[in-house]
Symmetry: C2
Amino acid sequence: MRKVTVFVTLKQGVLDPQGKQIQASLNSLGFQEVEEVRVGKYMELTVEDGPNLAVRVHEMCEKLLANPVIEDYRVELEEAEVL
Amino acid sequence: MRKVTVFVTLKQGVLDPQGKQIQASLNSLGFQEVEEVRVGKYMELTVEDGPNLAVRVHEMCEKLLANPVIEDYRVELEEAEVL
């Protein structure tokens, strides 16, 4: 069993209204030092190990987890923790 | 200017219906090896540097970015890239 972490972020230049709103809220709460906020998704997958794991995970990102038109993604594979 | 990354994840034991749905969708797309998906948020903040930056960012998390009752958060401070 492997743990896979996927980060999905908006491409540079794509507007991020959610991030903009969080920035405005932080500013109005007294955190004036915040200049920009960009929001992304973070997914932890527990996956059965296989020979093409990295390729399969990239397929998952292209097909479902990210929208390649407006989003970038990054994949990190790590050994599952032994509990 | 510093770049700060905030990861917000659901605490262990808290149900994650969004992750469950993504897992089911991946399974039905042919990715049967996916056993669990947990979804979190990932935020990149661009913040003006100051003496208490780490403390301030933790305050932001407690007040707005995370819900400490059901979510954990993790903060990474890094030097802003020179463009």
